[in-house]
């Protein structure tokens, strides 16, 4: 893993399933120079549309002992992408310099064979444009030097209000993404498929708070009783021009 491999790290412990990443992804990518992500019948009874990112919801356990898991799913930018070698035209490719798996819309003939060769179901066909589409990791904005440096991230990462999404080079052990994977037991989905997905997920973790009895009693209470503290004298020193009265 010496080559640069950009990826997302998604913390399932944080994700609340708000779909902000879904809508911001759609907004950014439908407004770009590559053309819209087409929708058919968007406000009708039977809408069909192209999205690069979906948030799905799962439930583990039996009621009432259940746990809800919100699971954002987009292209994992596999290090062994099975969708790339099967493409007859070479329209589907993995970019050497940063490991992003992309589709060249000008070469795609619309045979859909790549989508058959993706176990994650993250490629979506645009019926209006007639080409296969997928997450680009916002390749059009992460290198955009007209943007301030901290905004050069995928739209979904910037949109997440809970901070569940991280973006970085997972082949660089010092990156925030790599550290998060190391420190929080980050994992890949369907590892048995041999695709070596670059995107990682952080597992749900139990958050426990242990409170001891002595912590329930105020230790800094000079009068040893609860209630309002006595008013200080006017001559007492005060802090930062703020007095307690």
């Amino acid at each position: 893993m010496s080559r640069k491999q950009l990826a997302l790290v998604i913390d399932l412990n944080i994700c609340v399933g708000c779909h902000a990443c879904v809508t911001s992804c759609k907004e950014w990518n439908t407004s770009g120079w590559a053309g819209p992500l087409s929708d058919t019948d968007p406000y009708g009874a039977d809408p069909l549309g192209v999205f690069f990112n979906r948030v799905q919801t799962f439930e583990a356990g039996e009621f009432p002992l259940t746990e809800t898991i919100h699971f954002p799913k987009s292209c994992l930018h596999c290090e062994e992408p099975p969708c790339v070698p099967v493409c007859p035209t070479g329209a589907s490719f993995k970019r050497e310099e940063d490991g992003i798996v992309l589709v060249d819309y000008d070469k795609c003939i619309g045979c859909k064979y790549c989508s058959w060769n993706c176990p994650y179901g993250v490629r979506e066909f645009d019926t209006k444009q007639g080409v296969m589409k997928k997450c680009t990791l916002c390749a059009d904005r992460i290198y955009d030097e007209t943007l301030p440096e901290d905004r050069r991230k995928p739209a979904c990462v910037l949109a997440c209000p809970a901070g569940a999404r991280m973006f970085g080079d997972i082949s660089d052990p010092a990156s925030e993404a790599s550290q998060a994977i190391r420190d929080n037991a980050g994992f890949q989905i369907m590892p048995e498929m041999g695709t070596r997905p670059a995107n990682h997920y952080l597992p749900r973790r139990k958050t426990m708070l242990v409170i001891h009895n002595d912590e329930l009693v105020r230790a800094d209470n000079p009068l040893l009783k609860e209630g309002e503290l006595p008013r200080p004298q006017l001559s007492d020193p005060f802090l930062d021009d703020i007095t307690s009265w």
Binding site: L12, H19, V22, D46, P47, L48, G49, V50, F51, R54, V55, Q56, T57, F58, E59, A60, G61, E62, E67, T68, I69, F71, K73, P82, P85, V86, C87, P88, T89, G90, A91, K107, C108, I109, G110, C111, K112, Y113, S115, W116, N117, C118, P119, Y120, G121, R123, E124, F125, T127, G130, V131, F187, Q188, I189, M190, P191, E192, M193, P203, R204
Partner: protein, 326 residues
């Protein structure tokens, strides 16, 4: 998987065409190595090659309906090193070109001797083109079969049986088609072709039986555990994230309910294999011509059903993520 009619016609038509061309070459070889002096006319072989070429051409036309950008179709030969689809795209015109040459050489009787062997047998130009043609048709069978067999995310497909089945079905329908050409042309090869067509149909029947049995005993194709990486014994989907449709809910599922599938399997087994093999045997043993000619149209209905079921029975791993709308 959703069966696309363009692909159903493509695979059944080119399979039949390849089988027919291989049947022609096999028939010619049968004469060459045989001791008799009689041989079928060049006209028969030329007609057969024309029919084969027409079938391959129709398949090629059908394939264009599968593409949304057929005008870029030429690009699809680019990745022949890695993609079986690309190899198929290369081999299909190769077969068509060789079939054309084979037919033309027979039509004009242009058969200069290229090699003479010790046993007084000789290799002429038509036979040499025929060998190349049969080889490229055989490779095309493998390439088309491997397009499906190499999709390792559909367990029903990812098996050598996919290639074996497809090849046997192509040979079965191709030999049957060639037998019809021979019957119409009143060629000597008719019984030879009808007999082999019956045999290949029975073999294809057996292979289909093995495949059906295998697919029935496959382990479940996916588990939610590894799909979302949550180690829990009981996980279910609450929502796939949207209420409408998406590519993933249309391309990878069939709309026809599971209760129809047993009927279709019955239709496939009777029309695709049982009835045509009986008719071909009748046509072969009793030389009953109507039976020989009726076998192929009946089989074709069965083979379209077979291809449809092949797609409909393919359970893609990605379906694990699309089990519940809301």
């Amino acid at each position: 998987m959703k069966p696309a009619f363009s692909v159903l016609f493509l695979t059944t038509l080119i399979g039949m065409g390849q089988g027919l061309l291989i049947a022609l070459v096999a028939g010619q070889f049968y004469f060459v190595i045989g001791s008799g002096s009689e041989q079928d006319s060049g006209l028969f072989f030329a007609t057969g090659a024309a029919v084969g070429l027409a079938l391959l051409g129709l398949g090629l036309v059908a394939s264009f309906f599968h593409l949304t950008h057929p005008e870029r179709g030429m690009r699809s030969i680019m990745r022949w090193r890695t993609s079986w689809l690309s190899r198929e795209v290369l081999l299909l015109p190769a077969c068509m070109g060789l079939a054309f040459l084979y037919g033309v050489a027979h039509w004009f009787g242009f058969a200069p001797v290229l090699m003479t062997f010790g046993n007084q047998k000789s290799l002429d130009l038509t036979m040499a083109i025929g060998f190349l043609l049969a080889a490229s048709c055989a490779f095309l069978f493998i390439a088309t079969g491997m397009i499906y067999a190499c999709v390792r995310f559909i367990k029903e497909w990812a098996t050598p049986w996919t290639v074996i089945n497809y090849t046997l079905i192509g040979l079965s329908s191709g030999f049957a088609a060639c037998a019809i050409v021979a019957a119409v042309e009143n060629a000597l090869l008719r019984d030879f072709l009808a007999g082999w067509a019956a045999l290949f149909t029975l073999l294809a029947f057996a292979a289909k039986g093995v495949t059906l049995w295998r697919n029935k005993h496959l382990p479940p194709p996916f588990t939610l555990k590894s799909a979302i990486g949550v180690h829990h014994g009981s996980i279910r989907q609450l929502s796939q994230g949207f209420n409408g449709r998406s590519f993933n809910t249309t391309e990878f599922f069939t709309r026809i309910g599971p209760e129809v599938k047993p009927w279709l399997i019955g239709l496939m087994l009777v029309f695709g294999f049982a009835a045509p093999s009986a008719l071909l045997l009748a046509g072969w043993a009793d030389r009953y011509l109507p039976a020989l000619i009726a076998a192929l149209p009946i089989q074709y209905i069965g083979l379209l059903t077979e291809r449809w079921l092949f797609f409909a029975q393919g359970q893609h791993v990605q379906n694990v993520y699309y089990q519940r709308k809301s």
